[in-house]
């Protein structure tokens, strides 16, 4: 198609060239500017506001507009890639829409523009202009960002090489169990924010919804391989400062790694919709220097042997009830609710429950199928009631069963000893 030559006027060579190849007529720009309408002014204003908001946000690195502070190599890489990529796309957006805006202001009927009739690029220059964005895009996609992206994935997926320790994370509705297989330590981590704060009866604390009873303790400057699985539905373990997020899939092991470079407390939460308690499944990681980590391991192990010893002794009812109350409020309350009321249609009530008020053991001292102790130890397959023998100690199971049988209006009067639980495992 022949380019529209009407725009060529006497004047600067650049003007001629622009007019010839891109139908841009610079000589009557002033006239056009005078004819801007009300709407167009508002349009400009809006576009400028949006652009400057975005631009401002991108230029203030390390502000609230950014990712949380990166403390692992993977997190540092991904924040750098993200900021680079955001700058590139904002650049593309500004350039492309500057051309749009130019056309919108310039090529309007009210300023006497005559419509062109071209339907494709006409000159060699126009073809070059039409092709160049795609070459640039291919370069951005597969070289500029594509090559570093490949290296970042390779780094992120390299979970095994030179891993110095392993932590296993097991997700359940709505808590995390952390396990240090080499040290034989495991514990459950649940939300510590009170129901009062969630339901606006108490003032909200600083770390509202991002605080737990037992944080995961990790050493700094050590490559930690994290194995993930789940006992019920899919969950996702995400701490923004670590730059990693990976799904915990029931029946499968997934893995990732972190190497925390700076001591501190890092907070995150479950990132995969996993039911009613999805918003209340926080993750808190405390990264400490190696000596403190060793100390903590030793203390935790001592607690473990104390628990082992405790399982052997005979507990009084008061001791079991006190311990049971504590465990109930940490482990069971999310589903069975305060006062054992449950959630109608979703989680059964414990108050007045047939199972809780049923017999404890059969006459041979063995578990009764679907009895109270069986349900707590082995769970109910296909429901959120998991097999707690995998996560709780003998003392804890004995305490919780005793507590449930003698609280919420249940008056069974009997109790379970940790030694019994140990024998029934």
């Amino acid at each position: 198609m022949e380019p529209d030559n009407s725009a060529i006027r006497d004047g600067h060579a650049v003007n001629k060239w622009l007019a010839r190849h891109f139908c841009i007529n610079r000589s009557d720009r002033a006239a056009n500017f005078r004819e801007w309408g009300r709407i167009e002014k508002r349009l400009t204003l809006l576009l400028v506001t949006v652009f400057s908001l975005f631009a401002a946000s991108l230029s203030c690195a390390k502000s609230i507009w950014d990712f949380q502070e990166p403390v692992t190599p993977v997190a540092r890489d991904s924040i750098a890639a993200s900021v680079d990529f955001l700058r590139i796309i904002m650049g593309i957006y500004v350039v492309v829409f500057a051309v749009f805006a130019y056309s919108i202001f310039k090529h309007r009927k009210s300023s006497g523009a005559q419509p062109g009739t071209f339907t494709k690029p006409g000159t060699r220059w126009q073809w070059a202009l039409a092709i160049s964005p795609f070459l640039l895009l291919i370069y951005i996609d597969y070289i500029w960002m594509g090559v570093p992206a490949f290296h970042a994935i390779a780094q992120m997926e390299d979970t095994r090489a030179a891993a110095e320790m392993v932590v296993k994370v097991t997700a359940s509705q709505w808590k995390w169990q952390y396990e240090y297989p080499e040290e034989n330590i495991r514990f459950v981590s649940t939300i510590a924010t009170t129901q009062g704060q969630i339901h606006n009866r108490e003032a909200k604390g600083e770390h509202y919804l991002q605080e737990v009873d037992n944080p995961l303790i990790l050493p700094t400057n050590k490559k930690v391989r994290i194995l993930l699985t789940s006992t019920d539905v899919i969950h996702s373990w995400w701490v923004p400062s670590f730059g990693v997020k990976r799904d915990a899939v029931p029946g499968y092991l997934r893995e990732m790694w972190v190497n925390i470079e700076k001591p501190g407390t890092y907070r995150g939460q479950c990132a995969q919709l996993c039911g009613d308690g999805h918003a209340f499944m926080p993750i808190v990681v405390e990264a400490v220097a190696e000596p403190q980590f060793k100390e903590w391991l030793a203390r935790k192990k001592a607690e473990g042997s104390a628990a082992e010893a405790a399982a052997g002794k005979v507990w009084s009812r008061e001791e079991l009830m006190a311990k049971g109350n504590e465990i109930y409020n940490g482990v069971c309350i999310a589903c069975h609710q305060a006062g054992g009321k449950g959630v109608p249609g979703a989680f059964p009530a414990l108050a007045g429950s047939k199972i809780v008020n049923g017999p404890l053991l059969d006459k041979n001292g063995l578990l009764i199928k679907d009895g109270h102790l069986d349900r707590v130890m082995n769970g109910k397959p296909g429901t959120a009631m998991q097999a707690f023998k995998n996560t709780l100690s003998d003392v804890e199971i004995a305490a919780i069963v005793t507590y449930e049988r003698n609280s919420f209006g249940n008056r069974m009067g009997d109790m379970v000893q940790p030694s019994q639980v140990k024998a029934l495992r």
Binding site: I64, I92, I104, S110, A113, N200, L209, Q269, H278
Partner: protein, 532 residues
């Protein structure tokens, strides 16, 4: 003799039955088009009301209005209703009304299938909504709360009868979509006026033809996945149940094998209609026709080979992660062909800025943001930070609302005078546009930053660091909801008392539909027009 018969038949059909029977029994493509579009509009407002409740809950941290279970139901219903109840039926309504007019056909090829396809929809919508209302009378545990892609469905852990109702609704919606899609393919391939070669068809028809093929390929996968889920839940199969050797991730693969094409099923009709509007108000022919047709086919193809970029944190093997990253990036190339052609469409035109043109340009600006943010997401290492955070929520609303809904509104304003024979109030239309633009950005820009800061999606309550962004976003959402009410008034006023529209409607409008009076007679092109 032949002429006499034609005349008699013509007479009988010229007067459809009066009152409600006309709408129940109609097989006329224009009536069905109106029905589809009205249904889409009603569902748009129902889906909107649901999300207003969600945003009200998120106005402040803490649980104020909703229980978490109710919250999950509301956003799940919002998504299902907006995608399957509002956007897709509205696009189907447009194709029903416009395709026969654009290609010079007397009606759709399969009018009874057309009627059936529509009347399935209200029942599917009822199935979706019934369990939601039943819970208030103590029956069942409410509607599905699994999110629209149902990622997490290990047996009965989540969702009671609501999930089963949703599965049956999906079956019905699938039937409706597939029958509508077959109708489009048959009509377009067989009933074009003499002289209208495939490469002369308006781009909207091309886009819908491609969409129809995508629907026929993708919808059955969704229905099959839903059926497998149903048998898992009730008949002891273990496709997705890890405890019995199934694979929960398989469900995600199946759903996203449908779900990613679905994104383009929503967007392709809009990409088809935007060039019409830009060309009309620039008073120029469509720019880069061939390039756009090829780009649409390329996107159709690519959409079927990139699905796992929705599951990059699920633990795919390294090779798969690399493949899905690079293949997803390839989509940016045909997409930018389209953007380039839209620019070509207005370049050196003689533009005026009536409401449809404003919405079309608004579509380009917002869809541009959705598309460009989509360019970053497949970067696997960075995706770990974006995935399932509010960044994603912001991104896909820029494509679905900023792209889909803006495009549909542009189409509605563009063809409304053709449908009703009356003009709408231009001033109110512009006001509607500006209110929508401002409140839309106010809603979704803060969500982007909340996501960058680490806020996961699907949460009923959030940590205090996300408070400011959520407050702004909620206020924006309320404004966005309110300003859509203006649309109802504009359409109502247009139908009741708008000034008469000419057949041409817009000065620069091209195409066979603008050679007819407004509104077009009940039957059109009984003798095919000659197309040069």
């Amino acid at each position: 003799m032949t002429q006499a018969i034609t005349a008699v038949a013509h007479d009988q059909h010229e007067h459809p039955p009066a009152g409600i029977m006309r709408w129940l029994t109609t097989t006329n493509h224009k009536d069905l088009g109106i029905l589809y579009m009205s249904f889409g509009a009603i569902m748009f407002f129902i889906g909107g009301v649901l999300i207003m409740a969600v945003r009200a809950e998120l106005l402040f941290p803490g649980l104020q209005l909703l229980s978490p279970g109710m919250y999950n139901q509301l956003f799940t219903l919002h998504a299902l209703i907006m995608v399957f109840g509002a956007i897709m039926p509205f696009a189907t309504g447009l194709n029903n009304y416009l395709i026969p007019l654009m290609i010079g056909a007397p009606d759709m090829a399969l009018p009874r299938v057309n009627n059936w396809g529509f009347w399935i929809l209200p029942f599917a919508a009822l199935l979706l909504l019934i369990p939601f209302f039943l819970q208030f009378s103590g029956i069942g545990s409410g509607a599905s709360g699994l999110g629209w892609v149902m990622h997490n469905t290990s047996l009965d852990l989540q969702g009671g009868i609501g999930v089963d109702f949703a599965i049956f609704a999906i079956h019905l919606l699938g039937l409706s979509s597939i029958s509508g899609a077959i109708n489009v393919v048959v009509t377009v391939l067989n009933m074009r006026a003499p002289g209208m070669a495939l490469m002369k068809m308006p781009l909207f028809v091309w886009a819908w033809l491609i969409t129809a093929f995508m629907l026929i390929l993708a919808m059955p996968v969704f229905s099959a996945a839903a059926t497998m889920l149903l048998t898992d839940r009730h008949f002891g199969t273990h496709f997705f149940d890890a405890a019995n050797g199934g694979d929960p991730i398989l469900l995600q693969h199946l759903i996203w094998f449908f779900g990613h094409p679905e994104v383009y099923i929503v967007l392709l009709p809009v990409w088809g209609l935007i060039p019409h509007i830009l060309a009309t108000f620039s008073r120029k022919p469509v720019y880069g026709y061939r390039a756009q047709v090829y780009a649409l086919w390329a996107i159709c193809f690519l959409s079927f080979i990139v699905w796992s970029h929705h599951m990059l944190t699920s633990g795919l093997p390294l090779a798969a992660e690399v493949y899905f990253m690079y293949s997803t990036m390839a989509i940016s190339i045909p997409t930018s062909v389209l953007v380039f052609c839209w620019l070509g469409a207005i370049w050196r035109g003689a533009m005026t800025f009536e409401t449809p043109m404003l919405f079309a340009l608004g579509f380009v600006a917002h869809f541009g943001m959705g598309a460009l943010t989509g360019l970053i997401l497949p970067d696997v290492a960075v995706n770990a930070q974006y995935h399932n955070s509010y960044v994603i929520v912001s991104h896909f609303h820029y494509t679905f609302f900023g792209g889909g809904i803006f495009g549909m509104l542009a189409a509605l304003y563009y063809w409304l005078p053709k449908f009703t024979g009356r003009m709408f109030d231009e001033k109110l239309g512009r006001l509607h546009f500006w209110l929508t633009v401002i409140s839309f950005n106010m809603t979704f820009i803060p969500q982007w930053f909340a996501g960058l800061d680490g806020m996961p999606r699907h949460i009923a309550d959030y940590a205090l660091r996300f408070s400011t962004m959520n407050f702004i976003s909620s206020v924006g959402a309320f404004l966005l909801g309110l300003s859509q009410l203006l649309l109802v008034y504009i359409v109502f006023k247009c139908v009741r008392s708008g000034p008469k529209a000419t057949g041409q409607v817009w000065e620069g409008a091209q195409g066979l539909e603008f050679t007819l009076p407004s509104p077009p007679p009940y039957h059109t092109f009984e003798t095919p027009p000659a197309v040069k």
